[in-house]
């Protein structure tokens, strides 16, 4: 039937009105909200891919950028690592080998290197307004060691095993940590300077403790807003699940007042959108960007991308208990089948740098000569395989997490390049949690991912990936090679100073043995995945690669 013109006009008009109305409302909110021009700002907008789900570190292992940034901001430690300039970097980095006072005013070490005495700042208040005392320190460590979920005893082994004896409040403002061997001292200090060394407001938490929950851990996790129990620079103001966390400056912060009063942390799951928001001025800080986007942003004068060395290693872990990697020659052959340079250049777009070992090369007495030189050399890989009488292609499954695009891309590049070196690589992607539990159960042949040590102490780093039964040990390296390695480690731990002239060469020797075993193939170091608006200043790179928001200012002149 023919359309009556009136009705048809009506229908069209209705469509037009609806569309117009919607567009009009939309335009109401498109102005840029983050970066203004010139004047200093006291509010910043941070866009993050995920949201902190639990700010009580002692409840359970919490992964994800946002979790660590939020807990870092809530808490403070007795000591911290000072920021220093680094050659070739455009931001400051942390000095890994010295410590400066933070909540403690000073600390001293007994002549035998076994007793560390911390003198607390007096009159320092927590976020809840309670004064910091030695009891807070002792109680904090009791809490850390009381909970199974946090895994703290693992981090502090073997330095601290018996809190009651080893951590003692001498008077109201003095606390001592006593260790068995002076060689543990450096690692202990390193741990105390990271977020696993956070000091809690015991007065506040004790008010919420019950007989079933003596350290108020369950109470703490029952609501995110119960998390303001520290001495750190920021505290939670509001939490909208999976959408937003607002943090405000802690008025009692030891180095306050802070230039940034409010930090709005928005969840934007898509990495490319986060990059776009930075360009558009809708965000001041964007976390977890893709290297390719960071490379594209390099030419944008409004955006600043920090460049500095990093402790995040990209590595392949081979299961030494399963064919084909139960054979060392096959592992070494694979080490010659990895296209190191191509991964750095094409996957990380220069946001990573070649670094084929574990330890920090700026560490005192470090010696690189112990390391085998692995390069992409398919001929050599094939020769090694032939020499060992292995029929090629050697096929294996490489498992990667489905949450890290750069690692997935690296896996593709590796699979393509390793084909010429006699390997047939099948890629399997699983959720991170599953990768972890399957790996620990010994069900994976090989996996690739990124990782880092919480504490940059040579023995800690070396043990992290080799300790039998350890949670980061997915290679299960054992046998005579490992025993020899363990012997060297023992010698090192027995020395008086973990970063002294006696221990240093031993760590290098052990690292050489680890590299020779090829149980872990270190591919590269990955730089910070953060970019900022150019007028956000003061970014300094922490060892854990998180942002120290207490150091940030916004507005004013542009970064150079």
């Amino acid at each position: 039937m023919p359309a009556p013109p009136r009705l048809r006009r009506l229908a069209r008009a209705a469509v037009a009105v609806v569309a117009l109305g919607l567009v009009a409302t939309a335009c109401a909110d498109t102005g840029d909200s983050a970066s203004g021009s010139g004047a200093a700002r006291d509010t910043i907008v941070v866009v993050t891919g995920d949201q902190a789900s639990n700010v009580v570190r002692d409840y359970g292992f919490t992964n994800g950028t946002d979790n660590q940034e939020v807990t870092n901001s809530i808490h403070a430690q007795l000591i911290r690592k000072p920021y220093i300039a680094e050659e070739g970097a455009n931001v400051q980095v942390q000095d890994l080998y010295h410590f400066e006072p933070f909540l403690a005013q000073s600390y001293d070490v007994s002549p035998d290197g076994k007793v560390f005495t911390f003198h607390l700042r007096q009159g320092l208040k927590s976020q809840q307004g309670n004064e910091l005392t030695a009891d807070d320190v002792v109680w904090s460590f009791e809490r850390k060691f009381s909970s199974k979920g946090g895994g703290m005893p693992g981090y502090y082994a073997p330095m601290l095993t018996d809190i009651d004896k080893q951590v003692v409040a001498v008077d109201k403002y003095t606390v001592t940590f006593t260790i068995d061997q002076p060689g543990y001292g450096f690692t202990l200090l390193g741990n105390l300077a990271e977020n696993i060394g956070s000091i809690y407001d015991s007065t506040y938490l004790k008010q919420h403790a019950t007989a079933d929950d003596p350290y108020a851990i369950q109470w703490g996790v029952s609501s995110m807003m119960n998390g303001n129990s520290g001495f750190g620079p920021y505290m939670l103001q509001s939490v909208t699940p999976n959408q937003e966390i607002v943090m405000t400056a802690n008025p009692n912060y030891v180095f306050g007042p802070l230039p940034i009063k409010t930090m709005i942390r928005r969840v934007v799951p898509d990495a490319a959108t986060r990059a776009n928001m930075l360009v558009r001025g809708d965000a001041d800080v964007a976390l977890d960007l893709r290297p390719s986007d960071q490379a594209d942003l390099a030419s944008n004068p409004d955006v600043f991308t920090p460049t500095a060395s990093s402790n995040l290693y990209h590595s392949i872990t081979l299961n030494t208990k399963q064919a084909p990697f139960d054979n060392r020659t096959v592992r070494q052959a694979l080490a010659y089948a990895v296209p190191y340079d191509q991964i750095v250049k094409d996957v990380y777009h220069g946001r990573a740098y070649a670094y084929q070992h574990l330890l920090d090369d700026k560490q005192p007495y470090y010696d690189e000569s112990t390391l085998p030189k692995y390069t992409y050399d398919p001929a050599r890989a094939k020769a090694l395989l032939a020499q060992a009488g292995i029929t090629t292609p050697v096929s294996f499954t490489l498992t990667v997490s489905n949450a890290s695009p750069s690692v997935q891309d690296s896996a593709v590049v590796l699979a393509s390049a390793a084909k010429d070196a006699g390997f047939d690589v099948k890629i399997n992607q699983v959720p991170a949690a599953q990768l972890f539990s399957d790996g620990l159960a010994g069900r994976l042949q090989a996996n690739m991912g990124t990782g880092s040590a919480v504490t940059m102490s040579p023995p800690y780093e070396l043990q992290l990936v080799t300790q039998p039964g350890g949670g980061s040990n997915l290679s299960f390296w054992s046998g005579p090679d490992y025993d020899a390695f363990a012997q060297v480690m023992k010698q090192g731990l027995a020395s008086t100073d973990a970063i002294g002239p006696e221990a240093g060469p031993l760590w290098s020797k052990a690292e050489g043995m680890l590299a020779d075993s090829a149980a872990n193939i270190f591919v590269a170091r990955v730089m910070s995945p953060y970019s900022l608006r150019a007028d956000v200043h003061g970014y300094a790179q922490r060892t854990d690669r998180r942002i120290d928001y207490a150091a940030i200012t916004a507005g004013g002149e542009q970064n150079s």
């Binding site: 229908a11 907008v45 789900s53 409840y59 292992f61 199974k148 979920g149 946090g150 996790v221 999976n242």
Partner: protein
Amino acid sequence: MTPAVPTAAPDAASLLAAVRRQRWWALRVLVLPIHILVFALIAFFLVRLIPGDPARAIAGPDATPETYEAVRAQLGLDGSIWTQLGHYVSGLVRFDPGTSITNGRPVFDELMARLPGTVELAVVSFVILVLASLLLSLVVVLAPRSLDARIVSGYSQAAGAVPDFVVGVIGILLFYATLQVVPAPNGRTRPGLQEPDPITHFPLLDSVLAGRFAVTSSILSHYLLPIVVLVVSLAPLLLKQLLGALGPAAEDRATLFRIATGTPRRKVVVSIYRRALPPTIAVFGTIFGTLLGGTVIIEQLFGLGGLGTYAVTAVAGLDFTALQGTLVLVAAISMIVFLLSDVTTMLLDPRRRPGVRGSGS
């Protein structure tokens, strides 16, 4: 049924008859909780099919074997699967789906914090979707041979061809990154704009009730693109069904009679819709379920963290309790919506009630 005793009070018999008359919907309502419970059992086993060990993930990279065992106990994953099932079911009947494995908070609170936002987005999208589909179908009904009508029916045939995430990515690229006519896909409001204290917990409604119209406008503008994406990608599905039902109705004898007798066009159109709508109401119900699922991806794209994001995070983090809680909640909502759409259909068209011949679905 006992045959009516002649001496019995007529009241009882009529009451019985009344009950029997209402049986068609009352029964459906009564079995709903049972259905949900059955589904909860399915969800329980389904979730446990996922490989991986949540206790491992919680215990962290440096856990010793003892710590790991302790964590398993702490998470309630140490008993046999039947003990776990017992805990789960006894919790569920008390509306307590347990505590989240990954963050230790009650799953009920976590779900309730996310549900209103998700439901609000779904309902608003649903209303716009239905209106848009009705409006577009009108174009076809009014002038089936016109160019407009051809475009509309072509669009309806594209049902399912353009996935919502493709529409979403194109939308963000075009309208945010390039043209900048919509705000950043960073959640519900402009950063820094405080949402009012919850009254109904539905953010948009609350902002209106609290008289905070700046928030209302901010939410509307942030909802715009996600809603358009949902509507554009789902409208063909509804439209296809609608046109399928309208076609026959337009050529029904009754319609032809009205046209022949010179009934005003508006009345003819109304009568066509009245005839065509009942069979499509059931489809509306399914579409709402689809919409609820569609929000999973929309939430990911637009930073509107809600139930979908919660489910995706739960799968990734092996959070069994959170995942089974979400599954049961989403199923319960869908079942209630199905029930409502079925009851509506049966109200409009008593032939579709159970007990009437030919019933079954």
